[in-house]
């Protein structure tokens, strides 16, 4: 991925940002991305983002966990190393259920976290460029690609929609 030049406006309020996104859509301006300290209700459909498929992956990881735990215990306690616990049969299904549940949660959660990190290029030691420090604090950012829009147009748009600051930055 080559270097990109972005022009972005910072907003103080997510409602103002939502209105800005709406007017950008109305003017057919190509939005590069929106950055926010927290998820904004109603933003995803405005940006035309498809529903995340992370939960489908989570379901598959969970089912893998269920099968691993249940089939694993079934094999261990009936074939590999049968032991009688508390006078119960070898294949004591009710006592397998809590462990099956826990392994399901473990597989689903760890699997989803790892998938999320890989998809988003996050991870320990990874250097990520970000546009502005305060995006992680109290500012809401709307970014345009400088190649697709002149800075003057962008500045005019940001002033019109109530941005508090306008900046430019190169990102990798």
């Amino acid at each position: 991925m080559g270097a990109k030049k972005l022009v972005f406006g910072l907003y103080n309020d997510e409602e103002v940002l939502l209105e800005a996104v709406k007017s950008a859509n109305a003017e057919h301006i190509d939005i590069y991305d929106v950055y926010s300290p927290f998820p904004i209700h109603g933003l995803d459909p405005l940006l035309g983002l498809a529903e995340s498929r992370l939960h489908i992956a989570g379901f598959i990881y969970g089912m893998l966990g269920t099968l691993t735990a249940f089939l694993g215990m079934s094999w261990i306690f009936t074939k590999d190393w049968p032991i009688i616990f508390g006078g119960k049969p070898y294949w004591a299904v009710p006592s397998f259920i809590p462990i099956t549940f826990e392994v399901t949660v473990l597989f689903a959660s760890i699997g989803m976290v790892v998938t999320f990190y890989i998809i988003n290029g996050l991870g320990p030691g990874v250097e990520n460029t970000y546009l502005h420090d305060r995006i992680t604090d109290d500012k809401f950012c709307l970014a345009f690609d400088s190649d697709k829009m002149t800075n003057a147009d962008a500045e005019q748009f940001f002033r019109k929609t109530g941005a508090s600051e306008v900046h430019e930055k190169d990102i990798k």
């Binding site: 209700h41 109603g42 529903e51 939960h55 379901f59 508390g86 006078g87 119960k88 009710p94 006592s95 259920i97 809590p98």
Partner: protein, 455 residues
């Protein structure tokens, strides 16, 4: 009402009061008549202690009373927690919670019958058994007629008092208050906070008396939670169905799929919670394998396999897999379908809680000997006893299947008729109550929060 924020006002004008049409009334009255006829037929064709009649009455009364109790409980919990998302349909929960008053009348009839010794519902209610049975003797301090009658009156009266106070304050707020004022809301909150411990602790005591003590020798510390979860899930599914009904009639244009989505989440979550309690109760008893405790499950697994395993399929597997996805909770068709399934499923869950114990008690008190965990294939005379009266054709099948008793092993037509009767009364009361007040509570300080609600 001057609302400063008018960007989110619904475009369709909001109808103020629910119009309870004559056609709805007639339909529901037909349902009530079906229920009354079913109960009369049950009473006439019953054995001499009328166990089928009384257990049907107990089954439906506890089920529907508990739905009212839980509607009040969740409403009060939401008020206490400063939740606002439900405010534009809170009249549904107010109406449903007031059904508690109707349900308590039925419970009082049962309590009076217990007091007078008119039925064989409870083993602890038989003086001879208590005198000779050390377990019943040990429990006699709680499991007795006085606790049953006065517990029902006192706890039930307190619940109903608080809920009707909340309702009248809520109507007062609508008539007198202005939007954004907390004057009335603060007073409602006091009652809401008071209701939580009253309903929380009181319902446990009443569940032990009303439901768990039909198996008088058996007890489980989880039982009250388990029953409460069953009530809760039924209450949520009834709420979803009523909202879909009202929306279909053009009301509640500002109650959107966002609200139904949240109700769907509650239905999903509390179905899992119910299953968690069901399983916790089952596994601890299965693992400990103490004879006094396992009898409850052994009896149900051996003699009620369809209901016992079907219970888990209907109340866990179906809602779990269907409501798992985001989109299914937002589609009225799917969430409504699951609500119907789950509502009937929890009615069957109550059937399974109450009927086996009552049948067992009836047999014991009428000298047919043990029928529980230690049964050994006898009990045919017990089956014949009920089959003699020939309730329905299915009763004759009972002669071939060991232990099958019409109206007890599986719900018969009369049980379904009684259910239709109670359900019609329940809906009739709610619709009547909805027609008595504005459907929207625009002076509630959380009104606009709920109109703008977005999940």
């Amino acid at each position: 009402m001057a609302h400063s924020n008018d960007t989110h006002t619904a475009a369709v004008p909001l109808v103020r009061n629910f119009d309870f049409t004559g056609r709805m009334k007639v339909t529901l009255l037909v349902g009530i008549v079906i229920g009354v006829l079913s109960m009369l037929l049950t009473f006439i064709g019953d054995d001499h202690s009328h166990s089928r009649f009384w257990s049907n009455l107990l089954h439906n009364s506890t089920f529907f009373t508990g739905i009212g109790l839980m509607a009040g409980f969740f409403m009060c919990a939401s008020i206490t927690a400063w939740a606002g998302w439900y405010t534009n349909f809170k009249r549904v929960w107010e109406s449903m919670s007031l059904f508690l008053g109707v349900g308590l009348i039925f419970m009082l009839v049962i309590a009076l019958a217990v007091w007078m010794g008119w039925n064989d519902l409870y083993h602890w209610n038989d003086a001879n058994s208590v005198a000779t049975d050390p377990i019943l003797k040990g429990k006699a301090g709680f499991l007795n007629r006085g606790w049953y009658l006065f517990g029902t009156i006192i706890f039930g009266g307190l619940w109903y008092f608080v809920l009707s106070k909340i309702r009248s304050l809520s109507l007062g707020e609508e008539a007198d208050g202005g939007y954004g004022e907390f004057r009335w809301h603060d007073r409602i909150r006091v009652y809401a906070v008071a209701y939580l411990p009253l309903a929380g602790f009181g319902s446990a005591a009443m569940i032990w008396l009303w439901i768990m003590s039909v198996d008088a020798h058996w007890y489980s510390t989880l039982f009250a939670w388990y029953t409460g979860a069953s009530w809760f899930v039924s209450m949520i599914s009834a709420t979803i169905l009523l909202i879909i009904f009202f929306k279909g009639r053009g009301y509640y244009s500002n109650v959107s799929h966002e609200h139904v989505h949240d109700l769907g989440k509650l239905l999903f979550a509390f179905s899992i919670f119910w299953t968690y309690l069901w399983f916790s109760q089952f596994m601890l008893i299965w693992y400990a394998n103490v004879g006094e405790e396992t009898g409850y499950f052994k009896h149900r697994m051996d003699n009620y396999p369809i209901l016992f395993y079907g219970n888990l399929v209907v109340n866990f597997v179906l809602p779990f897999f269907v409501l798992m996805r985001n989109s299914t909770k937002r589609k009225f068709g799917i969430v409504g379908f699951i609500s119907v399934i789950v509502f009937i499923g929890h009615w069957l869950d109550f059937f399974l809680m109450i009927k086996p114990g009552v049948l067992h008690t009836t047999h014991e008190l009428n000298g047919h000997g043990g029928h529980g965990a230690e049964h050994g294939g006898h009990g045919h005379e017990a089956v014949g006893h009920a089959a003699e009266h020939g309730h329905e054709a299915v009763a004759h099948a009972g002669e071939h299947v060991s232990h099958f008793t019409s109206g007890f092993t599986l719900p018969g037509f009369l049980e379904i008729g009684t259910f239709i009767g109670f359900l019609s009364l329940f809906i009739f009361f709610i619709l009547w109550s909805m027609s008595r007040a504005t459907m929207q509570s625009e002076n509630d300080p959380y009104y606009y929060e709920s109109v703008q609600h977005h999940t």
